[in-house]
Amino acid sequence: MGNNKLFKSQQRTGWLMAAPATLLIFFFLVLPFLMAFGFSLTNQRIFSPNPTEFVGLHNFKNMLSVHFLTVEAEKDETGAFKLDNNGNYQFPKTRKFTRNNPDYPHLNKTREWMKFDVGKTKKFYVLARDLIFMKALTITILFVLITAPLQAGIALLLAMLINQPLRGINIYRTIYFMPVVISMVVVSVLWKFIYDGENGLLNALLHFFSVGYFEPVDWLGQTDTALGAIIAMSIWQGVGFHMIIWLAGLQTIPVDHYEVARLEGANKWQTFSYVTWPGLRNTAILVMVIITMQAFTLFPQVAVMTRGGPLDSTQSLVFQMVERGYGKQDIAGGSTISVFLFLFVLSISLFQRYITREKIHG
């Protein structure tokens, strides 16, 4: 009886203590998410004299719809294929099919996303209704696929480097950790100067070390270097944080395991793969899950450095979310992306959890 009473009062205290955090989380995370979910099913604007209307899954359908089209090379009157001066087959522009063409009403206002050659005389097109979203989605996934393993790997390397009992090692720990403390917006502004096409630091350095052979590159202004530039800078900024998590993991591995390995005559690689890596298993899961989730929310770098350009080569889902919801005052459109991103990242995290689960050996 007395125990039960004590338990109850303890429980009450517990809830009381959890209340501030719970309330904050409810009002600033749970509630906005529920609202976003609701808005994504309507045509809600930031402000409008028109009443909000329920539109069902229209926003999602519009955003995700993809069509296919196969086009044959152009023929002349005799039915022979037309060739241009270089002897290449000529294809009509997709614009002919996607702009008010009565024969292709389902393709109206779609845009070319990808094209493939089918033999020599045919082309196969993938058309998207919301091309910018599709690009933002693929680029964000690409960003995650490159950033996550690279950032985790470099962070582990750094963690092992600074996990040595050397004099002054704290200086290095501080240096590697420093970028993490600086806001991403500030880092982005600084790196924008570093990447500057004409008198940027990076170009100047490369010019110097190549003894003048290197031609300056407009890193953020070209479609083939812009995303790479953002990835490199993002890794530089985030690597210190994950280094610290790895370091914590490294320091939980008992020293006697290493002593045993040394007595057994293990070399460095064997020590790493049989002692260090197994000891870091849970840390590795944590780091991968965190990096993946963080990478999916790619935003300040893009907003400050490229605004999605050049030619949509650095679009990201979160950037589009803000651009639509706030820039174009289309809260419904922004909410639709955010709900999609939530479900997408959630399923990836669950998948990661599944493949890294503790397997029970028979």
Binding site: N43, R45, I46, F47, S48, P49, N50, K93, R95, T98, R99, K109, R111, E112, L131, D196, G197, E198, N199, D218, L220, G221, T223, R307, G309, P310, L311, D312, G327, K328, Q329, D330
Partner: protein, 418 residues
């Protein structure tokens, strides 16, 4: 200790004084976008003080906002139902705010409005919603010596450069090899600059953001004239005449004065330092005629009255009070803006006949074209900016403009045609 005392004294006296004013007259609250600019603030405060002293019914109180967050603040206040009596608004945004129900039509006497440049009056749906104390204008900055050296005709308002003439001029200047780029259009200034500065060029080709006959962008912003403009624009980049989207912000500010650029598209706000540095060599040239007349953007920041204001009469009285020539001239002298009436231009130091910036007043009078007057402008401007950036980076012109047309029309449809 002494500091704290004086601060406390200041706080108390402010409270006491403002309470005093409030008891005597109805307070008119006013929001302004120019926080951080002391000259602008002083000018405005002088008008406010003059108004408050000139009558005893109303007392205006000003609150400043930084320009970057001003529009968001107004939106937030509108959502919360906290708009002030008087708000200032960027010209092309005004229809959106009027449509959204932030602004009430003004009741300013027609005599006053008749004297003003069209760019300083904000009308939508047949009503005047905002008026400006100034206008802005763009010109092509050039050095007289450069043009004369290369045998280039100096254009006039009546006889501006034509498209083919301009293409030849760019080629001529480019062949000198003296410049990094021959025509700086200011791609570094992302945002409203694109629609403000490049939109009129598209209009001069015969294109526009919207087809006024049916309110649709499709067929206009991606029509033949607009595509022709896009192709020409892309040729500027492909020929290496103009710096592209990754232009350095610093080069945009000083590139022309440093001699990196031969010609520069810029506004009157940059004219004073240019004259100071180049003196008589400095030319402000009218816009090129691409076939449908030379055009430049019109309308700057303007003042309006909020719909929720309980003191419509007082707010209108204050706005009319602001429109006195002496104040218009003072704003122009203080920050270099174009005075919006002929009388105030004559009174101003820089825009009076024979003044150094007189040409901008004439430009504004002769070439100024309003941006599309519709609540859909906010999105249309953004889509135009994206299309121009993509075209500059080598996108297919028709595809880029198609995309803009569809996005603009989709936005109009989402808002039930505005």
């Amino acid at each position: 200790m002494k500091n704290i005392k004086s601060i406390l004294l200041m706080i108390f006296s402010t409270i006491f004084l403002s309470a005093n004013i409030a008891s005597a007259a109805t307070t008119l609250s006013m929001w302004y976008h120019g926080a951080g600019n002391q000259t602008e603030k002083d000018l405005l405060m002088q008008i406010v003080n003059d108004f408050n002293n000139s009558q005893s019914d109303y007392a205006v109180e000003v609150q400043d906002f930084p320009q970057e967050s001003y529009n968001d603040s107004v939106t937030a206040a509108a959502l919360a139902g906290n708009l002030p009596d008087i708000i200032d608004v960027d010209g092309p945004i005004m229809p959106n705010w009027a449509w959204s129900g932030y602004l009430a039509p003004l009741s300013i006497s027609q005599d006053v409005l008749d004297k003003m440049l069209p760019g300083a009056i904000g009308s939508w749906n047949g009503e005047v919603y905002s008026v400006g104390l100034w206008d802005a204008a763009c010109a092509i900055y050039a050095r007289k010596s450069d043009l004369e050296e290369n045998g280039i005709r100096i254009p006039t308002l009546d006889n501006p450069w034509t498209k083919s003439e301009f293409d030849n001029i760019l080629a001529t200047l480019d062949s000198t090899g003296k410049y990094d780029y021959v025509f700086d259009v200011g791609m570094a200034w992302t945002g409203e600059w694109y629609a403000y500065a490049f939109g009129p060029m598209m209009q001069s080709f015969g294109g526009d953001l919207f087809d006024t006959s049916n309110g649709k962008a499709d067929g206009m912003i991606n029509g033949d004239a607009a595509i022709e403009f896009g192709e020409w624009w892309q040729s500027l980049m492909n020929n290496g005449y103009a710096p592209g989207t990754s232009q350095d912000g610093g080069d945009r500010e000083t590139g022309f004065l440093d001699g990196k650029y031969a010609l520069q598209l810029n506004g009157n706000w940059a004219a004073v330092p240019a004259i100071e540095q180049l003196g008589d060599d400095m030319l402000f040239l009218p816009s090129v005629d691409f076939g449908n007349g030379p055009k430049i953007g019109a309308a700057s920041w303007q003042f309006g009255v909020s719909k929720s204001s309980k003191n419509q009469e007082g707010a209108n009285a204050f706005i009319e009070f602001m429109l006195q020539d002496q104040y218009l001239a003072a704003f122009s002298d203080g920050i270099g803006l174009i005075p919006p009436t002929a009388q105030s231009a004559a009174m101003s130091e820089k825009y009076r006949p024979g003044g150094p910036l007189e040409v901008f007043f004439e430009l504004s009078e002769a070439q100024a074209t309003l941006r599309a007057v519709t609540p859909g402008y906010v999105v249309a401007s953004k889509e135009f900016e994206k299309a121009i950036a993509d075209i500059s980076n080598g996108a297919d012109v028709a595809d880029a403009l198609d995309a803009a047309a569809d996005a603009i029309d989709a936005d109009v449809a989402k808002n039930n045609g505005y």
